[in-house]
Symmetry: C2
Subunit: 490 residues, 2 copies
């Protein structure tokens, strides 16, 4: 893997694809639009899952599992949901194959389903069809359930992690007795997502709500976390929806209140997906490859022995094993790559490409001197330290790397939020600098669509902390009371 | 849920279904043959997953993810695999829906796939199509990969957990340079499964290999773990397959050996599924409901307060919170059910039904005396102990329950292995007593099929520890050198 990547400046999109494939994160499969997540990439996703799952459980949620298939008719039940989701879907029509006369495998036409099944693009419909059976009285509420699952949305133009026909995600689906409680839940999950993005992915995000046209199909309000990639494009990293009583009405889910009245249940849903893997790559990585925040690295430290003969290798192995034990004891995940099938230079390039936060090299002279060389992936700085100081040095440096990555991304993000007051300025900044554009908007779908048509920029969100301020819409000149954030987006 | 279950004696099958639904493990969904795994059931599955995943990683495996869909043509590539798997499958033929004139959702006939996609019934084909790209030389071997995923096998007659059209499972797929290494791997995973079944599920299993006709489609050898349920029927709980070079040949996966020769790669695959949930239920549970081994219980202890007024409840809550802290500190998972919406009697029945290993009740008199009442789910014994002894008592008793469940199941299993020497005896034992029948078999498929036809019993396995012993086939009278185990099976 000493292969050099295309640089970000030369071709950002090509750089991204090469990095994802060469760093062993994922690759395209023989199935159009579906990816294979390779072990190294999956190990990062597992770390994300573990932290998110912990956070969900700490906020009172439980996991469950609902069917992969949804009967076609379910999609007709929630009117706005149909338009949003029952479009580009994988449709199961038959349930049997057979061998034809020539021994070829063909679909058995006699085994046709009476009602087609849709591979879930999201599970609101099947879950609310289930909740009807689970909910009778206020005693059964709230229901705070999450599902880890695969979903399918047929995509014509796909990109690894960012847009694939099948992807992995979690989807939370909660049911509440009151509007207020459901609203609080959807805001809470936005906050959980923001904390995860910032504290674990070291990726700063803006919390806000979506404009009507960017909302989830069937939602009254969509809360989002928006991140900024290194090419100046925004990426929606997670959404949490307040669904009102729409799904309860569509699937007739009522409960008996404490006062004995029959009322419709209030709902939320929220999700993040393997898209976060793409966001992680594009937030921190450089032209040498992946850069991983220590909290999500499959291994935080790699040890590479430098030797000329077996005797030297044996001596290094002894010392390195000791080091591994001490690092593990301190809670540091470490890989000791003592393979003799690959040269140190190959290994250095490999772990740089894979974004391992710290690389330790130990040679015969180090053994004599009681030292080792340690290199940071984020700054590419090397340092020789006493072998006895390794554990404390590693602990301190991993924490510094995590902070450094966040701060660097935060600075970049902050430098790329630009206030504009005219449409000319809007277009100029968008083309020259990119990033988020903070501008007044008149609140109409028409203006939003016109701006999108003319510039490809969309409203990413109305920030939670947007201040009221009198202004004029950057496009129509009509009255506006707050600025919203526009950007080109993934 | 004070609803009484049908007894096992009255109707074993009905008892099972009622238990699974009423103990909140799973239920049928609106989609034919697909189940909803409810939070309590899923929490048990998560515990199984966590232990298995740890065991897989300790034996050197990594997780990855492969596509849900498999192009139809892939199934034609491995001849014996076609017959075994490309039959009762969900077939995706279209990728878009639309609204018709009346606003109804219909399949868009213009969006027909050129090649149909099959929802994976198992992933050998798509994975070996991928391994071709991953493997060039011996340096790339072994590949030790596992996948946690959902799979679909269309079933006409389904039963919760035991046979559902969609189920959750893990499938390991490994690639090796030598036959010996692949064989060792498939045997190792059989051992891992047996350890998991016995040490965590408290379910004794017999390790053996399958007869040719019961082997996985495409395997040269299938190793199995077989358990015995309380109704005398066997249940195949996990299988590990030695696949030889069949899939490597079908998908042209070769590697360059150390000696520079191009050779086909050797393969294994192995899996366990949510079927284990069914096995767990049927191994330990009784007419009052689920009985859970402590190592897989979502919570091992439940605390129920007994009170007449708020003052009493407050005093109990204070004491119980202290207890919860101490138990958690000792690594015991505990739930304190202080809900005022449900009466103690309801809670007692509920947690009995849900198989919580230990139930603690605390009332006002207990507070005065410094005592509490603790009840074991497995023996239904109650005991009053000093509140100060709780932690050590709980730790000791949980360990006793785990052992007791295993020993009880082991005794039952051992009492239900019967040696027979004639076909009359075979039929009589099968009908009167059930369980495993240890009998001589002439090694032919014909005899195996005839016995199945006449008795519904199949060869569950040729036990790994079967001793060579001269004998005559119980059906044909032909020569036989070892006994095999027959049983009716799930």
């Amino acid at each position: 893997m000493s292969k050099r990547l295309t640089t970000r400046e030369d071709d950002y999109s090509k750089w991204y694809n090469e990095l994802v494939v060469n760093a062993d994160l994922a690759e395209n499969s023989g199935v159009r639009g579906c990816m294979v997540i390779k072990p190294y990439g999956y190990a990062i996703w597992e770390k994300m899952q573990a932290e998110l799952d912990r956070m969900f459980k700490e906020t009172g949620h439980e996991n469950a599992y609902f069917p992969l298939f949804i009967p076609k008719s379910y999609f007709s039940k929630e009117a706005s949901h149909v338009d949003g989701f029952a479009k580009e879907c994988a449709v199961v029509t038959h349930y049997r194959l057979k061998n034809d006369k020539n021994g070829k495998v063909v679909v058995d036409e006699t085994a046709k389903l009476e009602e087609e099944l849709i591979v879930r693009p999201t599970s609101e419909t099947i879950i609310w069809d289930t909740y009807r059976k689970w909910i009778e009285s206020y005693r059964d509420l709230p229901i705070l359930v999450n599902q880890w699952a695969n979903v399918v949305r047929w995509e014509m133009r796909t990109r690894l992690f960012l847009r694939t026909s099948e992807f992995l995600w979690q989807e939370g689906h909660t049911a509440h007795a009151t509007e207020e409680e459901a609203l609080q839940e959807s805001k809470l999950m936005q906050k959980v997502y923001a904390e995860f993005a910032e504290n674990f992915m070291a990726m700063p995000v803006i919390q806000g709500s979506k404009s009507e046209s960017e909302r989830f199909a069937g939602a009254l309000e969509t809360y989002t976390i928006e991140a900024l990639m290194q090419d100046g494009k925004a990426l929606q990293a997670g959404t949490s929806h307040f669904l009102g009583q729409n799904f309860a009405k569509a699937f007739d889910v009522k409960f008996t209140s404490k006062e004995g009245k029959r009322e419709f249940v209030w709902a939320t849903s929220w999700g993040v997906s393997t898209r976060l893997m793409g966001a992680l790559v594009m937030t921190h990585s450089d032209d040498k490859g992946l850069v991983l925040p220590p909290k999500l690295a499959p291994f935080q430290v790699v040890i590479v022995p430098i030797y000329r003969n077996d005797e030297q290798l044996d001596a290094i192995i002894e010392k390195a094993n000791e080091l591994v034990t001490n690092l593990k004891k301190a809670g540091v995940s470490v890989k000791f790559d003592k393979r003799t099938t690959h040269k140190p230079g190959w290994k250095f390039a490999e772990y740089e490409l894979k974004g391992v936060p710290l690389r330790i090299a130990i040679g015969p002279r180090d053994l004599e001197n009681g030292t080792l060389e340690i290199a940071r992936r984020d700054t590419l700085e090397k340092q020789t330290i006493s072998i006895d100081d390794t554990v404390s040095f590693v602990e301190k440096t991993l924490s510094e790397i995590q902070d450094n990555l966040f701060n660097k991304a935060m600075n970049y993000r902050n430098e790329h939020i630009t206030k504009v007051n005219s449409f000319d300025e809007f277009k100029k900044v968008l083309e020259s600098k990119g990033g988020f554009i903070s501008a007044h908007w008149d609140g109409t779908i028409e203006t939003e669509e016109k701006i999108k048509e003319l510039t490809k920029a969309t409203i990413r969100c109305i920030p939670n902390d947007a201040k009221n301020e009198d202004g004029k819409c950057v496009y129509s000149g009509a009255k506006s009371i707050k600025r919203v954030l526009f950007a080109k987006a993934y």
